[in-house]
């Protein structure tokens, strides 16, 4: 045993560069792997914890007090065994007018809700800044933390809330986190006033909507309770359930975690490849020594354990470094969200991911070491000592002329090809390693490009591609509206198309054990295609009895094109024919599109209050907007459509950051892989290199041959990797985003970025060989020959 340890230690010391390289690769892969595990395992924790801390409701209902008596509903729920507590009904007010802060309109809609108190049983608010009170005082407003992303608000600032009698100032007295709307992906997002606070601002008749939250003892009981409720009561309001809150919260992590999962697997494969080639090469170089050890009585098991112990030690040292890196990367990923939720202190436990990574790596690396080092058992002591190395294969008489020396041979190329063939296994390993690097870089180039094209590629993400979004403010004269529309359609040759649109909430009745569900749809008065909305399948509705359905809704309802969907509208069941399925990041593809006539049939009073305007090419959007504002003043609110995707953009930029980081890491992996291969080539061929030098090769020529060898491998990796990647990448991105409601990732191929990957990879390959060989080629030929 002592002998084995001595040899192991000598090996580690003698091959410092090798040891360090393998350690770096293991650390990189462990970093990716632990981050992936950390996000995977930790994804639920911030949400669950926040939910538990704030005693958040699993069912949040919003309804009109004219439809249901809040007390009746509250007491129905209180009678259910599974229910822990039901909140007091809280009044909520929402109109289309935007809040104003420092004379600037909010970009996204907000609503006001009464907060009945943090001392009450559920739906508490976590006060991040401001005085810890139970609820906002008179004239005060509590704002959600994610608003800070849009505005630099502070305690004591004034927010003006539009009312019938003009703007009403409220003073910000706390910045809070709410478990349901923590990341600001919900529209409109609530801000809070104290009990009775709304009746000071609005007339009683405008305060008919209340919110009621039901907290259950067990989150798994949501569906049965909700189903039971809908059986008992013909509910007409909205109901949002736990699963949806959670999904909205996790969407970022699902995508990021999925990406990291892929990368982590790649990282592990590359690490195993490098480990395997290092062990393989160690055995080649140690051939003579192994033969001699065997002759002295070492068993195969003794020899294998030399390598096992060696790589066990390296793994034990390297993985912790990766775990430290993983800790920071995980923090970084969670930070994007944690800032959105607020400085809530989530102690993300990395203990489990760390242990998991450690065990996985130990097993993986020891297995591969064991497998590779079993070659040592085939070494015959006599041949090893006599040959001083493994038996060689001749290329004489082979049909591939480049491998034999001929009058036409380029001597450097010849040498490069011989390096390539001198350890075929290692060349193939390097090729596979580079394939992964090519894949990751192309994924980065095109994936990142696709994400950054969000604004210009809005239809593919399920948003309309109008230039201006116009909302009608209340208090407009009847025919002024039509005048507005006609003005643009007929008289204004700068306008390409105008489509009028509005939101509509409809209930899908209960079916087969499923509770009824409220989904919000968008109603259009014209061809939806005019504002660029796409379908995945079929077509958007043309007639009043047609509907197109978001893909998530379609899956949840189990309905596709040609099926009939019954919606509960205005107290009656209305059948629609599904003509199209679409995807949208909006509400994660839950929702529907119906033509205006489809609603006015049932509710003649229904009116659309928004316009989507597409301008002709070359028309200045901002100028046109200013002109509209000038002409119509406060009766319309005009915004540039591309400015409305704020929170989604911030999420996407978080994902882009992670991709950038991973891409850089894989460039590091590329460098390390090539470096490692070069060092191995030099060491395995040390004696030959010495001979080549002695017979007259200059160091530069040897270096060129080594560079050529790696370039050939890189060239083939690009040749094979680029087409494969370009086919696989769009499909894998589809898979990654399906859970977020995008079954077809809005992939935008970028030829320039793709082509840029080629010189990038070749350059790093050359640089890596150059650095790796520079030092080693300085060795005097005498020492090389003597080895």
């Amino acid at each position: 045993m002592k002998g084995i340890l001595l040899i192991t230690w000598a090996n580690i010391k003698r091959r410092k560069i090798q040891t360090i390289l393998v350690a770096i690769c293991i650390a990189l892969a462990a970093l990716l792997f632990s981050t992936m595990l950390g996000i995977g395992l930790g994804m639920e924790r911030p949400f669950e914890k926040l939910f538990a801390n704030l005693k958040a409701s699993h069912i949040v209902m919003e309804f009109n007090v004219n439809d249901h008596n809040p007390q009746d509903i509250k007491s129905w729920f209180e009678k259910q065994d599974e229910v822990e507590s039901v909140s007091a009904p809280r009044i909520q007010q929402y109109n289309n007018k935007r809040f104003i802060y420092k004379e600037e309109e909010f970009k996204r809609p907000a609503l006001l809700r009464e907060h009945v108190g943090n001392d009450k049983s559920n739906d508490k608010l976590d006060i991040l800044q401001g005085e810890a009170q139970s609820f906002p005082g008179p004239g005060e407003i509590w704002i959600p933390n994610h608003w800070l992303n849009n505005f630099e608000m502070a305690i004591g600032d004034t927010i003006s809330v539009p009312t019938k009698n003009g703007l009403f100032p409220l003073v910000v007295s706390a910045i809070v986190v709410d478990a349901h709307y923590a990341n600001g992906l919900f529209d409109p997002s609530p801000a809070w006033v104290g009990p009775g606070g709304l009746s000071l601002l609005y007339p009683m008749k405008d305060l008919s909507r209340v919110v009621l939250g039901v907290r259950l003892k067990d989150k798994d009981m949501v569906d049965p309770v909700w189903a039971r409720f809908n059986e008992a009561v013909t509910y007409q309001g909205f109901g949002t359930l736990y699963a949806f809150f959670k999904q909205i919260f996790q969407i970022v992590y699902q995508i990021t975690g999925g990406l990291l999962f892929v990368f982590a697997i790649f990282g592990i494969i590359v690490t195993l490849i490098i480990t395997s080639s290092v062990v393989n090469s160690a055995i080649k170089t140690d051939y003579k020594m192994i033969g001699m050890l065997k002759a002295q009585g070492f068993t195969n098991r003794n020899i294998i354990s030399v390598y096992l112990i060696q790589f066990f030690l390296i793994t034990c040292v390297a993985v912790p470094f990766g775990l430290i890196g993983g800790y920071f990367l995980t923090q970084l990923v969670f930070k994007s969200l944690i800032t959105a939720i607020g400085a809530v202190n989530f102690d993300i436990s990395l203990l489990l991911p760390s242990i998991g990574t450690f065990i996985a790596f130990l097993i993986g690396i020891l297995l591969i070491t064991f497998r590779t080092s079993r070659q040592a058992s085939h070494i015959q002591p006599v041949t090893a000592i006599r040959n001083g190395g493994p038996p060689q294969k001749s290329f004489a008489g082979t049909s591939f002329k480049y491998f034999t020396l001929r009058p036409k041979s380029n001597i450097v190329l010849f040498l490069g090809l011989r390096f390539l063939m001198s350890n075929k296994k290692r060349s193939i390993f390097m090729f596979i390693g580079l394939l992964f690097v090519v894949f990751v870089q192309l994924l980065y180039a095109n994936g990142r490009n696709s994400l950054s094209q969000l604004d210009d590629n809005r239809p593919a993400w399920g948003f309309n591609d109008s230039d201006l979004s116009v909302r009608q403010n209340t208090g407009l004269l009847e025919n002024q509206e039509d005048y507005f529309r006609e003005a643009m359609n007929d008289d204004d040759d700068r306008v390409k198309s105008v489509v009028k649109r509005g939101f509509y909430g409809a209930t899908i009745p209960a079916q087969e054990g499923k509770a009824p569900e409220t989904i919000v749809g968008i109603i259009y008065d014209d061809e939806i295609e005019k504002v660029g909305l796409l379908v995945l399948e079929g077509r958007h509705p043309v007639f009043e009895d047609e509907i197109s359905l978001g893909i998530t809704s379609s899956k949840e309802l189990g309905k596709g094109i040609g099926d009939t969907l019954d919606l509960f509208l205005e107290g009656q069941l209305v059948p629609y024919m599904i003509t199209g399925i679409y995807q949208s990041l909006n509400n994660l593809s839950r929702g529907f599109y119906i033509r205006l006539e489809g609603i006015t049939e049932i509710n003649p009073l229904f009116q659309l209050n928004g316009y989507e305007i597409k301008l002709k090419k070359g028309v200045g959007i901002t100028e046109y907007k200013d002109e509209l504002i000038q002409n119509y003043g406060s009766s319309f609110r005009v915004v540039e459509s591309r400015n409305t995707l704020g929170p989604i953009k911030s999420i996407i930029s978080g994902i882009q950051d992670v991709m950038t980081l991973v891409s850089l890491m894989f460039l590091g992996v590329l460098f390390v892989t090539v470096f490692n291969d070069t060092v191995l080539s030099i060491r395995e061929g040390q004696r030959n290199l010495g001979i080549f030098k002695a017979v007259g090769f200059t160091p530069r020529q040897l270096q060129q041959a080594l560079i050529l060898k790696s370039l050939i491998i890189a060239f083939f990796a690009l040749l094979v990797g680029i087409p494969i990647s370009l086919i696989v990448i769009p499909n894998s991105l589809d898979m990654l985003t399906t859970a977020s409601g995008l079954s077809q990732f809005p992939y935008v191929f970028n030829l320039n970025y793709t082509l840029l990957v080629i010189p990038l990879i070749l350059l790093i390959t050359v640089g890596s060989v150059w650095v790796a060989s520079r030092r080693l080629l300085k060795i005097r030929p005498r020492i090389l020959v003597r080895e």
Binding site: I411, G690, F697
Partner: protein, 250 residues
């Protein structure tokens, strides 16, 4: 009047072992002449190989000068040195040092192809040399597939393919049996008779008798030097050499 081909002036070489510097060559002054067959003798560890490597430019001196004709080897960088070595030096090693995954023919051709020349002619010359050394039928074999003597003959073909000014051989027969040794020495003698300058390190008296000049190294300096009378025959040479070596540790 003899024409100098290599000269060393106040040559020193130290090796770093751990923290201490070990002196190996201690101030050698030496001139080798064109057409000479010089043998270097000396006890093991006296610095024979080191001196040979220094003279051929494979090793860099710690101080001192080495001139290959008019070229100051000591002040050239590795690339220049390599280019000069291609022209001046052919090296033969004790353990052959053929490239194991190249065939015999390729091993011979490799240094030839490094110099820009008529490749077809080189091919012909390689074939001719190999047939002269009686290894032509082995030209497609790998070094591991032939005997030591055959390997050494191949490495000699490799050493002379570029017509170097000097052949340096470090114990070329050290790993060979007596008949193989004779064959190798015969080739060297034959080459020398056609005017080829040769420097050889050897322990064997019989091999040393092929030379016309013997240099004896001790602890890194030249202790003694013997020039044979060109008139005397081999047996007389051997007796003279044995006498000269008496009392020397070799």
């Amino acid at each position: 009047m003899q024409e100098p081909i290599i000269s060393a002036k106040d040559l020193w070489k130290n090796y770093q072992t751990g923290k201490t510097e070990v002196p190996v060559i201690n101030g050698i002054n030496l001139t080798l002449y064109k057409g000479d067959f010089t043998v270097i003798m000396g006890s093991s560890g006296s610095g024979k190989s080191t001196l040979l490597y220094l003279l051929s430019g494979l090793e860099v001196p710690s101080s001192g000068e080495i001139w290959l004709e008019d070229k100051p080897v000591h002040s050239l960088d590795e690339k220049m040195m390599t280019l000069i070595r291609r022209e001046y030096i052919g090296f033969v090693f004790q353990d052959f040092n053929l490239v194991p995954n190249l065939t015999f023919l390729e091993n011979v051709l490799i240094p030839a192809y490094l110099v820009k020349n008529d490749r077809e002619a080189l091919q012909a010359r390689a074939t001719e040399l190999m047939s002269k050394m009686d290894i032509l039928d082995l030209k497609d074999r790998l070094p591991s597939e032939v005997s030591g003597g055959q390997q050494q003959r191949c490495s000699m073909a490799r050493a002379i393919i570029n017509n170097p000014r000097v052949i340096m051989a470090d114990e070329p027969t050290g790993n060979l049996n007596s008949s193989s040794s004779e064959a190798v020495l015969d080739i060297l003698t034959e080459l020398n008779e056609t005017g080829q300058s040769i420097v050889m390190v050897t322990h064997e008296v019989k091999s040393a008798c092929r030379a016309n000049r013997i240099i004896f190294l001790k602890d890194g300096h030249i202790e003694d030097e013997l020039n044979f009378d060109p008139q005397i025959n081999a047996e007389e040479k051997e007796i003279q050499l044995l006498k000269w070596l008496a009392g020397k540790d070799w």
